[in-house]
Amino acid sequence: MGLITEKLPGIIEPVPGGSVLLSSMDAVINWARSNSLWPLTFGTSCCAIEVMMASGAARHDLARFGAEVTRPSPRQADLLVIAGTIVRKMAPRLKLLYEQMAEPRYVIATGSCAISGGPFIYNNYSTVRGADEIIPVDVYVPGCPPRPEGFFYGILQLQRLIREGESIRRPGERRKPVLAALPAGITLDQIQAELRELLESKAQVKLGASATAGRG
């Protein structure tokens, strides 16, 4: 974990007040991390237009989720969005980029190509069948390419994962990957209404609620 929790004494359970304080600290740290993801500018093909560019532009506005600070250097980024096909020549570079990122780091695989090879899976000699063959992936966002709303749904799933993720009580717990597919039959208006509602509720910081979530 971070500097604060390591320096703080009393990670051991017995003290009644101490453990409560520490797990609350966890929840605060996780809450802060989940709302300030810094993505790496990394797009190999078509998904980059929808996921990195259209999402970041004015209409969809990734900044609403605190993830608009794209960094060209992996050392400053903590979110790797694999936007596009990974071919064999690119695979070592992708692994290198992932390894250069500092912990904690998160990976979203967007689009069919990054999930499984997508349209380039059959009769093909060059593509990697899914980015998870090279690096661990936290959230899969299906689509070819996913629309920006779909990507936002993936970002929300990742935020949930981070908030419920590692803590002092569960050190180094491996996050289980999730598939963030939009529910079948959902309309664009419904998605936008849900996003609006969510953003309004997110505007207020509810420390009490997230602390309970972190402890559970």
């Binding site: 500018t41 004015a58 071919v87 349209p119």
Partner: protein
């Protein structure tokens, strides 16, 4: 390409002071730009031979997004191959689809009707505008201005919405197929396109005020990366890159397809072949595309939108068939080698960006690294289209 020589610190200090005690000496060195770099528009890798900040040589290294599309095409029917062309140059997906459709129709003697050709022309021109809008935004961002990116995408979303309503996809369309188009146009299509044209005309003036008339932008473009007409032709550059060098070659004019012959439009041509001309040609092309759409949108004839049965695997007679279209970036050609079956024996795609990229080896040497970014951006490359 020679390896970088490792010299000891003493040696380097001695060199920097100079053997003659004062006169400084420099050394050329190599720097990798990419494959992960924000200004290379994807996974392009350029090996730069630098002298200080001056570019001496540019060596593009390709293959970081080679997906074997041509080999895959040998296992797919012609209709199935169309969706792979979406993913080559994803900003002109419709024009790419059209090239395949045109090649198969020409080879298999499929007669399309006027309605199909008009719809194809309108959607292709709409996407040309969308592609140039995106290029304009990214060009501004590469030069260090973030606002154009927001403006360009704001207006591009309008076109995405119109196309999504009819086609069902925002980016990878898979719409134009051999023998017609996949769906008929949406009832609101014509109204919304006209609304867009009236909306966008003043916005284009806004673009000009924001970026074109900016003195810093002009200084960074004028005279930078000059590509002469002879070089452009001999290197096979096409599209706005070629026309900016002063060669008025546009397939829509020189060998008209679709209903381009019916529409009046100009082919903008540059004079010097520098970044400024390439910029100006694209902005002007947006205007001409709007003119074309304006003439056609009210005159979509009645008829069927598909003249073949959707499930039929079209057979192409034996031989070599070639067909090409003008995308937003240049000439996109499809060569089919058929042995009479419903699956091609060999399929080859001629993509505009491959040749356009190679002009950078001519234009960039002598300029600084910051100018190299301007030059690459003015070429408007899409990397999956280069690597195929």
């Amino acid at each position: 390409m020679s390896a970088i020589t490792v010299t000891s610190l003493d040696e380097r200090i001695r060199r920097s002071i100079g053997a003659d005690g004062g006169a400084s000496t420099t050394q050329e060195y190599f720097v990798n730009m990419g494959p992960q770099h924000p200004s290379t528009h994807g996974v392009l890798r350029l090996v730069l031979k630098l002298d200080g900040e001056n570019v001496r040589e540019v060596i593009p290294v390709l293959g970081y997004i080679h997906r074997g599309v041509e080999k895959m095409g040998e296992h797919l029917s012609y209709r199935q191959f169309v969706h792979l062309t979406d993913r080559l140059d994803y900003l002109s997906a419709l024009a790419n689809n059209w090239a395949v459709a045109k090649a198969v129709e020409k080879a298999a003697n499929i007669e399309t009707n006027e309605r199909i050709e008009t719809i194809r022309t309108i959607v292709a021109e709409l996407q040309r505008i969308a592609s140039h809008q995106l290029w304009w935004g990214v060009f501004g961002m590469d030069l260090g201005a973030f606002t154009p990116f927001l403006y360009g995408f704001r207006d591009r979303e309008k076109i995405s919405d119109i196309l999504e309503e009819t086609i069902g996809a925002r980016l990878t369309m898979n719409y134009i197929q051999p023998g017609g188009v996949m769906f008929d146009i949406h009832p609101d299509f014509q109204r919304k396109v006209k609304e867009f044209l009236t909306y966008f005309r003043p916005k284009l003036e806004e673009y000009e005020t924001l970026l074109t008339q900016n003195v810093i932008v002009q200084e960074r473009m004028r005279g930078v990366g000059v590509l002469t007409a002879e070089k452009a032709v001999s290197m096979g550059a096409t599209g706005p890159v070629l026309r900016a060098s002063g060669v008025a070659h546009d397939l829509r004019r020189s060998e008209p397809y679709g209903v381009y012959a019916k529409a009046a439009f100009d082919v903008p041509v540059g004079r010097n072949g520098d970044c400024w001309d390439r910029y100006w040609v694209r902005i002007e092309e947006i205007r001409q595309s709007m003119r074309i759409i304006e003439q056609l949108i009210d005159n979509i004839p009645e008829g069927k939108h598909l003249v073949v049965k959707p499930a039929v695997r079209t057979k192409v007679p034996e031989g070599i068939h070639y067909s090409q279209v003008e995308t937003a970036r240049g000439i996109f050609g499809v060569m089919l080698v058929s042995d009479g079956k419903d699956v091609p024996y060999r399929i080859h795609v001629r993509t505009p960006n491959f040749n356009n990229l190679w002009t950078v080896t001519e234009t960039a040497p002598g300029w600084r690294v910051a100018d190299l970014v301007t030059i690459i951006s003015s070429l408007d490359i899409v990397v999956p289209d280069i690597d195929r």
